[in-house]
């Protein structure tokens, strides 16, 4: 173990909406689509449940990436929750851009039938985060 330099494995937090993306992740598992074990899935009832503060706190506590996944526009179980989510996430992205963290946040629409797409999104996002390196907040040491 000491001989191999372990490759950087990102920690990604994924908020998946109960009705589409969580089911999509389930389908990916049932259909045995492969995706890297870098993601921790958190089920929320709707993508608009994800407050900007959740994302900020996740990044502050050292998540390398945050994925918010919901139903496609027009398919939301709560009619227009995902539209609200889009506004919120895009605003959060703008706020994060100032800190240079905006690429670590992603919003994706994944429906319940898109298991393959779920695994593809995770693979793609993991690759992107690997290129970005780890969350800069982990490098900064704070003298307490």
């Amino acid at each position: 173990m000491t001989e191999n330099v372990t490759e950087f494995e990102p920690d990604i937090l994924a908020f998946c909406c109960n009705w589409c993306s969580y089911a999509g992740a389930d389908l990916a598992g049932v259909s045995r689509f492969q995706y890297p074990p870098t993601v921790k899935i958190l089920r929320v009832m709707c993508s608009s449940r994800v407050e900007p503060v959740f994302i900020l706190r996740a990044l502050k506590d050292g998540a390398d990436g945050v994925l918010v996944a919901g139903c496609h526009i027009g398919d939301c179980h709560y009619i227009d929750g995902n539209k609200n989510a889009e506004v919120r996430i895009n605003n959060t992205k703008k706020a994060l851009a100032k800190l240079g963290l905006d690429k670590r946040l992603r919003l994706e629409w994944i429906s319940a039938s898109e298991g393959a797409r779920f695994s593809e999104v995770i693979r793609d996002f993991t690759e992107e985060i690997k290129k970005l390196g780890q969350n800069p907040i982990k490098e900064v040491k704070i003298d307490e």
Partner: protein, 323 residues
């Protein structure tokens, strides 16, 4: 606070950490500074509150603490924007209006307009400042008791200002103004934008009323500059029942204690503005602006209040365009 709840500065001092009793009074205080004003016993009550809060846990932070998290996050990262030492000796700091606009998008207030208007007005006043893009001034964090985070922000910002080589820092936010003047040691002149706006030569010809933000008024003692900026440009100022030193609080400071008691305070202030019988309520603090507009966007309030709440700079810039 005494208007709306059973609270007293005396008991919050008695009950606080000194006697190890209840610290609730420390956290429900709005730090508006009206108590020392009404009862001038030379007690530095605000300083006491600020020190007592250090390291404590706030009772509640509005908006789930999103601004606190943002400031904490930015305090731990290196800023990716560098100061430009070749720029003007005036610096203009827009404050956090941008993130206010991003996270308070349901308040129906264009916070970004404050920055745009301020720059326009400064341009007219003949000042071409360099725009200071440093981190949050740390005002809310400081009053929420997170001194360590505040110190990190302060270190970064002080360094930034030294690098930028400015000798005058202009802010358009009352809270930034207070923080840079009193809680930082910048060694440069810090002014609020309202002090520069009395020679614009506008002819507004409208009746307005002015709400003194606690940070600009009682904390810093700037009462006349914004009034002069209004009257010198032709606006007729009609004072509310309580104004200047006795001005009521907008109800919330540093994003804490947004609850039914402070809402009653906000309603009291809005009612005074309504009683003044004008079309526009002017303020100079983005937070006051947000809180009044938040109340105004509620269903019942829309019928009740038929005036606009705008920032001083936005108001003046709007009339500059008309000409």
């Amino acid at each position: 606070m005494r208007r709306v709840s059973k609270t007293s500065p005396r008991s919050s001092i008695y009950n606080s950490n000194i006697y190890g009793l209840d610290t609730k009074g420390i956290w429900t205080c709005l730090t508006c500074g009206l108590c020392p004003q009404e009862c001038p016993q030379q007690v530095d009550f605000l300083g006491f509150i600020k020190e007592e809060r250090e390291g404590g846990q706030p009772l509640e932070i509005a908006h789930l603490g999103v601004f606190t998290e943002l400031a904490e996050l930015s305090s731990r990262l290196d800023g990716n924007i560098r100061a430009d030492p070749a720029g003007s000796t005036y610096g203009y700091f827009p404050g956090c209006v941008e993130s206010l606009g991003l996270f308070l998008h349901d308040v129906k207030t264009d916070f970004g307009a404050i920055t745009a208007s301020s720059l326009k007005l400064l341009d007219r006043a003949g000042i071409k400042p360099q725009i200071i893009q440093m981190k949050c001034c740390g005002h809310d964090i400081l009053w929420q008791g997170k001194k360590d985070v505040f110190d990190r922000l302060k270190d970064y910002n002080t360094g930034y200002i030294k690098d930028s080589g400015i000798d005058t820092l202009i802010t358009s936010c009352a809270e930034c103004y207070r923080t840079f003047s009193k809680d930082y040691d910048l060694g440069i002149r810090v002014i609020h934008i309202s002090e520069l706006l009395d020679k614009l030569g506008l002819e507004i010809n409208k009746e307005v009323t002015y709400h003194d933000p606690c940070r600009l008024g009682r904390h810093m003692g700037v009462y006349d500059a914004p009034r002069k900026a209004l009257t010198a440009n032709g606006a007729r100022l009609k004072e509310m029942e309580h104004s200047k030193e006795k001005a009521l609080c907008c109800g919330v400071s540093s994003f804490m204690n947004c609850n039914e008691q402070t809402k009653a305070l906000r309603i009291a202030r809005m009612d005074e503005a309504q009683a003044a019988g004008v079309n526009t309520l002017i303020t100079t603090c983005p937070k006051c602006l947000a809180h009044f507009n938040c109340l105004k966007s509620e269903k019942e309030a829309i019928k009740r209040y038929d005036f606009d709440v705008v920032d001083l700079t936005v108001f003046l810039a709007r009339h500059m365009e008309v000409k």
